[in-house]
């Protein structure tokens, strides 16, 4: 069919001398694809909820391609970070998100840019979905002045409007997130705060303190536990007396969601956001997901789990593959289109990596800046008494 169209198109071009044929082919191409389809998604386990998110999810071709683009960009960006780390161009801590892309992409699709989001240190994916470019992320990882935090924050400390990082202390971001939700409630702006933490952090005391206050004050806070089965090298069974993380909010309603299915995540997050916006108070969501890399770049990730397990998830449950297969089998897009998107993303990530390795580091003059906000310049003691440095707000 396509070859015939190509022949007709070329013929038309020769006859008319114009590029009419191309338009004909393009118009035919789009009409071939299903513009929208509905998919069955896994039912969520519910805690203290009468009803949950729908079990069927609509997906438009446009949104599907956007999901693919987002998840593939995060995937390739993380793999590039892996490469740069092994080349010792990225230093220190680097916690990669590949495998968990559906969580970030699905959540972002369910909220608006004026909503708020905060997470822990496995933050590169969310930094991207919240609006920071791959270029600015990679340059921050390589510690250059073109990084989103001018090279002063690094992997765990990237920020954007309505995105509060990137937090290094396990669990500390959870009270912060409830505080952001308090601000939303206080200002009456109908916004919500998505507050993420991992299965490891789920055992932190401050999270339970936060659950109590959020429920007491009905804060519009969506607590999301990204359960990737391992807190560093400790499996969930070895860390938690109860691994039903969606129930750990006790008096707070909860749902357990298939975190590898971007549509599941989107529907659940939408459900949760509606719950909060209706003034019903906080809600807990557990996203069952998986990370391909170890805890960080210093962890090969195979001493506490088998390679077979990792391979099994990759082949049967990969979020990007699942979306792609769904769209292909429903004729929502073509394999060529996905390939084209892949090529574009590869270029974007390569260009970003190029920038991140060639951009200069922040100048020494910047060393002491940004200690205080809105203040006149401050004297800062250097390494020895003769080193008198200056800090500008």
């Amino acid at each position: 069919m396509k070859t015939m169209l190509a022949i007709i198109s070329k013929a038309l071009c020769r006859i008319t001398g114009k590029n009419v044929g191309a338009r004909v082919v393009v118009a035919r191409k789009f009409a071939d694809f299903t513009p929208q389809a509905t998919f069955d998604i896994k039912k969520c386990d519910l805690h203290r909820l009468e009803a949950g998110p729908p079990v069927r999810a609509e997906l438009t071709r446009e949104q599907g391609l956007q999901f693919y683009r987002t998840m593939q960009t995060v995937r390739r960006m993380e793999l590039k970070a892996d490469q740069l780390y092994k080349q010792k161009i990225i230093r220190g801590f680097c916690h990669l998100y590949d495998g968990q892309e559906a969580c970030a992409a699905g959540i972002e699709a369910a909220i608006t840019p004026s909503d708020h989001l905060i997470t822990a240190y496995r933050a590169h994916g969310y930094t991207y979905t919240r609006g920071v470019s791959v270029k600015q992320i990679l340059a921050e990882l390589t510690g250059r002045k073109g990084g989103v935090a001018k090279g002063k924050g690094g992997s765990m400390h990237m920020y954007a409007p309505h995105f509060y990082g990137g937090n290094g202390i396990v669990g500390a971001q959870v009270p912060l997130g409830a505080g952001i939700a308090l601000a939303c409630q206080y200002q009456g702006n109908n916004q919500v705060c998505v507050t993420l933490y991992g299965d490891g952090a789920a055992n932190q005391g401050q999270i339970f303190e936060t659950f109590n206050m959020a429920a007491l004050w009905k804060l519009p806070c969506i607590f999301i536990c990204e359960n990737n089965q391992y807190g560093m090298g400790t499996s969930v069974e070895r860390a938690a007396a109860s691994t039903d993380y969606y129930k750990r909010g006790d008096f707070i309603p909860g749902l357990r969601v298939d975190g590898m299915d971007v549509l599941c995540v989107r529907e659940a997050a939408k459900f949760a956001a509606d719950h909060c916006r209706a003034g019903k108070g906080p809600i807990v969501m557990e996203l069952q997901t998986y990370r391909y890399h170890g805890h960080s770049m210093s962890d090969p990730g195979v001493s506490y789990r088998t390679r077979e397990e990792i391979q099994e998830v990759r082949s049967k449950n990969d979020p990007i593959s699942m979306l792609k297969e769904r769209m292909l089998s429903s004729k929502m897009a073509s394999a060529e289109e996905f390939k084209e998107i892949d090529t574009e993303i590869r270029k974007e990530v390569d260009d970003a990596a190029q920038f991140s390795t060639s951009d200069p580091e922040p100048p020494l003059e910047d060393l002491c800046n940004h200690v205080f906000c809105s203040d006149p310049p401050l004297d800062v003691r250097g390494v020895h008494p003769w080193s008198r440095l200056k800090s500008v707000s």
């Binding site: 708020h116 905060i118 989103v148 935090a149 001018k150 090279g151 002063k152 924050g153 400390h157 920020y159 954007a160 509060y164 990082g165 937090n167 290094g168 202390i169 500390a172 959870v174 009270p175 912060l176 997130g177 409830a178 505080g179 952001i180 939700a181 308090l182 601000a183 939303c184 206080y186 200002q187 705060c193 005391g205 401050q206 303190e209 936060t210 109590n212 206050m213 007491l216 004050w217 800046n369 940004h370 200690v371 205080f372 906000c373 809105s374 203040d375 401050l378 800062v380 008494p385 707000s393």
Partner: protein, 360 residues
């Protein structure tokens, strides 16, 4: 100031008006007696009224009127939204306060005493103090952490620690330690208006102490700048530097020493970080002798820092003797009255140290 105080006590407010320099002001008395507690209350009241993003949260701050009654009347006036009672969850509510500051509010987070702030210290340091720097200026945290600090009376070891040195160690924080009512009101207002995290160290034993406040300090826009020390009493023979309650002890010691012809210059630090070293240096270059006085422990304390800074600066060459530190005893605080009294600097200890430093 001493004269007008005596006048006031003898013949009431009118005497102060006459004794004060503002004889032409007919509208209101120049000075008025205000306790530190009421000064703090006024500061919060005025700032709550001025900026609706300001709110107070902590244990018992609302319906109980504050564990030490510092927030008396505020909940009645401003309601649940602006004055929030929290459960006993320091780490949780400190984090919530910090998060709310990140998202545009201006919280005042009260710790019932700073001893309990240790539960929450990670949020103060890692979430509040460091964030503006880590984000290269993208994320400010305009928050005040306030509460009583240091020894009280008979509350024993776990409730008597001074945290000035702990918090002042950290870049990204401002640490303020008022002594009298004017300090308390002016500095708290500055702290609330400051866009940075401020640790505001009050003193429980000072809450009930009245001080005369000038008319100027009654104004709703009266603030005392953070980062500037005040010379409470000028003198030529020796410099005494202190903060919080012990400023009063220094002034008492200075009064006794004056009778013996020793004139002490008493400096009230007001702010621990950023410390106004220039004021101390200028004083030392005049008096050639320095004694620091604090309630906290000696090791790695405020006095230790002052010693180091003086040595590194121009004032070192003007010292006629090493700097003397007068501090709390290097032990956990005991309970028994005599033991407790002897665990903290008394006026006689300051007098003794001054004479030793002057070699008289």
């Amino acid at each position: 100031m001493a004269t007008s105080l005596r006048c006031f006590l003898r013949s009431g407010k009118k005497a102060v008006l006459v004794a004060g320099r503002r004889g032409f002001q007919r509208s209101a008395p120049a000075g008025v007696q205000v306790t530190v507690r009421d000064a703090l209350n006024q500061a919060m009241d005025e700032e709550l009224e001025r900026d609706e993003r300001v709110f107070l949260m902590g244990e018992e701050v609302a319906q109980y009127d504050g564990a030490y009654k510092v927030s008396r009347g505020l909940w009645k006036k401003y309601g649940d939204k602006r004055v929030i009672d929290t459960p006993i969850s320091e780490m949780g509510f400190a984090g919530i306060a910090v998060g709310s500051a990140m998202a545009g509010l201006r919280p005042i987070c009260e710790f019932m005493t700073f001893n309990f702030s240790m539960q929450a210290i990670d949020q103060v340091i890692n979430s509040a103090a460091k964030t503006y720097y880590m984000s290269a200026g993208l994320q400010a945290v305009p928050i005040v952490f306030r509460g009583p600090n240091g020894a009280s009376a008979g509350v024993a070891a776990q409730h008597s620690q001074c945290f000035a040195a702990w918090y002042a160690h950290c870049p990204g924080l401002k640490v303020v330690s008022p002594w009298n009512s004017e300090d308390a009101k002016g500095l708290l207002k500055s702290a609330i208006r400051d866009d940075n995290p401020v640790v505001f160290l009050e003193n429980e034993l000072m809450y009930g102490v009245p001080f005369e406040m000038t008319e100027e300090s009654q104004s709703k826009d009266f603030t005392v700048p953070i980062g500037k020390a005040k010379i409470e009493r000028p003198g030529n023979h020796i410099t005494l530097v202190s903060h919080s309650r012990f400023v009063g002890h220094c002034l008492d010691a200075a009064a006794v020493l004056a009778k013996e012809g020793i004139e002490c210059e008493v400096i009230n630090l007001r702010t621990i970080r950023p410390m106004d070293v220039e004021s101390i240096e200028a004083s030392v270059m005049k008096t050639n002798h320095l004694v620091t006085v604090e309630g906290g422990w000696p090791q790695f304390g405020v006095g230790a820092e002052i010693c180091a800074r003086i040595m590194e600066g121009p004032a070192f060459n003007y010292l006629d003797s090493p700097v003397t530190r007068v501090t709390g005893v290097d032990i956990p605080m005991p309970y028994a009255k005599t033991l407790e009294e002897n665990s903290l600097p008394q006026v006689k200890d300051i007098i003794f140290s001054v004479k030793k430093t002057l070699n008289v």
